[in-house]
């Protein structure tokens, strides 16, 4: 009996010791001091890019594995070469980027086109892998702090490329249009007073084309109030031009839908 208890106790003690002592040993790694990354504080974006978080995590892990190689052996230039390799761009896209370079060299080209292409370039170059390049760069070239910080902000912008405008961007646009929209006060508040307008925008926020989505309703008999509301909304858009749109991510907002809803204001 005592023997059994002794065996059990010894065994348990052994397990406790192993657990207490061996696990830290197993996981022990040399202390890895992360390099200082300079971060520019930008306007708060309220939407996170949650779908990208797991991807980003994987990428960071990959980079950590490569870290030693980069820091110990590879000169900075090699890392720079790795950057485009890490970005799996289709051939077409690379061609377009080349075209852009050509355009930049040609001073006779129209400014707008250049702008559009430059936005396009940003868009196409976007890839979560570019985070890797950033981290690498920050480790290697501490002198180029400014450039890096710029890239960080662009990346953050890119990360919300697929998710729409951030709340602060949306608020800025709303606030601008609120000021331009004179609501026709004579409208009956109990009717359906929603006008949806689809816009095609230039990168500078000016409107290329505006289209009322329920256009057929405009000329229906008894829908005079709808016509009045739609016209007031169009006037507001024209008055507000150029719209206060974000400076980056043109592809994201080049098509925009504005829903003008007067019920809240007329409801009394």
């Amino acid at each position: 009996m005592i023997r059994n208890i002794a065996i059990s106790s010894t065994f348990h003690l052994f397990i406790v010791l192993i657990t207490a002592m061996s696990l830290p040993f197993l996981s022990k790694k040399p202390i890895d001091l992360p390099p200082i990354i300079s971060i520019e504080l930008i306007q708060i974006t309220d939407k996170t890019s949650i779908p990208f978080a797991p991807k980003a995590k994987k990428i960071i892990e990959k980079i950590k594995k490569k870290e030693k190689l980069v820091s110990e052996q590879a000169p900075p230039k090699i890392v720079k070469k790795e950057k485009p390799d890490a970005v799996p761009l289709p051939d077409e896209k690379i061609e377009k980027v080349k075209k852009l370079e050509e355009k930049k060299q040609n001073p006779e080209k129209i400014e707008n086109e250049v702008k559009q292409v430059s936005e396009f370039e940003k868009e196409e170059l976007f890839d979560p892998n570019s985070i890797a390049a950033l981290i690498d760069k920050s480790k290697e070239e501490t002198a180029e702090t400014n450039k890096k910080t710029n890239k960080i902000t662009q990346d953050q912008d890119r990360s919300i490329d697929m998710t729409g405008l951030s709340l602060s961007e949306e608020d800025a646009l709303k606030a601008q249009i609120f000021g331009c929209w004179s609501i026709p006060l004579g409208l009956p508040y109990n009717e359906s007073l929603l006008v949806r307008i689809k816009l095609k925008l230039k990168p500078d926020g000016s409107v290329i084309r505006s289209e009322i989505l329920d256009h057929a309703r405009m000329n229906k008999p008894g829908q005079g109030f709808y016509k009045v509301l739609a016209e007031s909304a169009l006037r507001a858009i024209k008055l507000c031009q150029p719209l206060r749109v974000p400076t980056t991510g043109y592809e994201r907002w080049k098509d925009l839908q504005l829903n003008f809803d007067a019920r809240e204001m007329l409801g009394g």
């Binding site: 249009i177 004179s182 098509d255």
Partner: protein
């Protein structure tokens, strides 16, 4: 097989798709719309012709001023100063330079042309959307030159309707009781004027006391209360012909008359032996019908626009309150439950609201509530004011307000005031004399 691979390849190609971003705009500004009313262009020959007939120096300018004033009165428009205009009226009427008008912040532009042709006045006008750079409306009117003020009002109605989505109320008239003399010995006459206070005409001489005139919504008939030989009775007056008659042969006092929406029935109160009830009289066959039968005082009846319901006030609950019933007198329901006394209910021509006078703690309020009594809103408060009457589009109320007399019994006055449903745009309506009991006509040009 090749096609299959191609198809798979196409599917697998990386395509970047962006969801359409939607932004909800739920607020706007309520500041008046900046509008430029250009003087209507007129040639020298026409100008001289009008000057001879009407002693009117520049008909084009005068009409544009009427439009401007009307629009300003609404509180919804901000007519811009003519001195800021960069384009001449004649050229602007043909083809406005929209950049010039946008420069002075105009969002809409009214241009026009006046011609004297075949002894008649011909007025063209166009409404332009300055920002969209396009014409919104173009109309021409031909009439006798003496109707020139009405032309201004009709243009305003059209502009108002096109820009706000509801009918205007400018080509209308207001009938009221014109008052003169000291408070204890007032002379009261029936008077009628354009809604902007011009063209006042007196319909009675002032020998008898007149009260509560009401327009027929369909034509130029008026019903009112007059004390003839000290007996108050409801009368009917044709404004065009001046023919006057007593409504019904009641053995007692009749008062608070009002027309039904189709103008065929007069609804009023009839008082006898200390009890007053609501009666109707069909103007075609003169059949009288009793609508309420209650020992309390039922008065101030007013039909809903569809003629199916009647609102009135009654003291059957102890205090004077507003009630609604079916037009045959059934289903009587009290709708006012606030503190104070409620009176003179009037159903809006739009059908959604009932305007009323309320007295509470010695002050008088003009307010509106929904037809079920909910959403009571008091628009204005004063020492003494009552008798609201709706504009034909149900957006503005006209009422009268009396001021206190001083210690010597002087300083008393009664004036007409208007206020819109927002409660902010309160304005004095100019009248030649003191005025009370206003009633707004329907649109003269339908």
């Amino acid at each position: 097989m090749l096609f299959r691979y191609l198809f798979i390849l196409i599917i697998l190609l990386p395509i970047k798709a962006f969801a359409l971003i939607e932004v909800d705009i739920t607020r706007g500004n309520l500041s008046p719309l900046p509008i430029a009313v250009s003087s209507l262009s007129i040639d020298e020959e026409s100008k001289e012709s009008f000057n001879k007939i009407l002693k009117n120096k520049d008909m084009g300018l005068e009409i544009s001023i009427i439009v401007e004033n009307n629009l300003k009165q609404t509180g919804l428009f901000n007519p811009l100063n003519k001195n800021a205009f960069l384009q001449n009226p004649d050229i602007a009427h043909l083809k406005p330079r929209f950049e010039d008008w946008a420069l002075i912040k105009a969002q809409a532009l009214v241009t026009g042309k006046v011609i004297f042709i075949d002894e008649k006045l011909r007025v063209e006008f166009r409404l332009w959307d300055v920002l969209a750079a396009r014409e919104m409306m173009a109309l021409t009117f031909t009439t006798v030159p003496s109707n020139w003020r009405r032309v201004g009002h009709i243009i305003t109605d059209k502009v108002y309707e096109r820009l706000t989505g509801e009918k205007g109320y400018f080509d209308t008239r207001i009938i009221y009781v014109a008052e003169e003399g000291k408070k204890i010995n007032r002379i009261k006459k029936l008077a009628i004027m354009d809604q902007d206070g011009f063209n006042t005409k007196y319909l009675t001489l002032g020998n008898e006391l007149v009260l509560t005139p009401r327009f027929n919504p369909t034509n130029q008939m008026v019903t009112y209360l007059s004390y003839f030989r000290n007996l108050p009775r409801v009368y009917l007056l044709d404004i065009e012909t001046g023919v006057q008659e007593v409504v019904g042969d009641f053995p007692g006092m009749t008062f608070a008359p009002r027309f039904s929406p189709d103008g065929k029935i007069i609804i009023m109160s009839f008082a006898m032996d200390g009890n007053s009830d609501i009666y109707t009289m069909d103007l075609e066959n003169r059949i009288v019908e009793r609508i309420t039968n209650h020992p309390s005082i039922d008065t101030s009846p007013s039909y809903s626009p569809n003629g199916k319901y009647i609102c009135f006030n009654s003291d059957r609950s102890g205090y004077q309150q507003i009630y609604v019933m079916k037009s045959n007198g059934s289903n009587v329901k009290r709708i006012s439950f606030g503190k104070g006394i409620y009176g003179t209910p009037v159903w809006s021509p739009r059908g959604d609201l009932i305007a009323f006078t309320k007295m509470h703690k010695g002050k008088f309020y003009i307010g509106v509530m929904r037809t079920d009594g909910s959403g009571e809103r008091l628009l204005t408060q004063n020492f003494y004011q009552e008798a609201p009457s709706w504009s034909p589009n149900g957006r503005v109320l006209i009422f009268y307000r009396e001021t206190k007399t001083d210690e010597k019994g002087e300083g008393f006055s009664a004036k007409l005031w208007s206020i819109d449903l927002t409660g902010y745009n309160e304005r004095l309506v100019e009248t030649e004399t003191d005025a009370s009991d206003p009633s707004w006509s329907s649109l003269l040009s339908n």
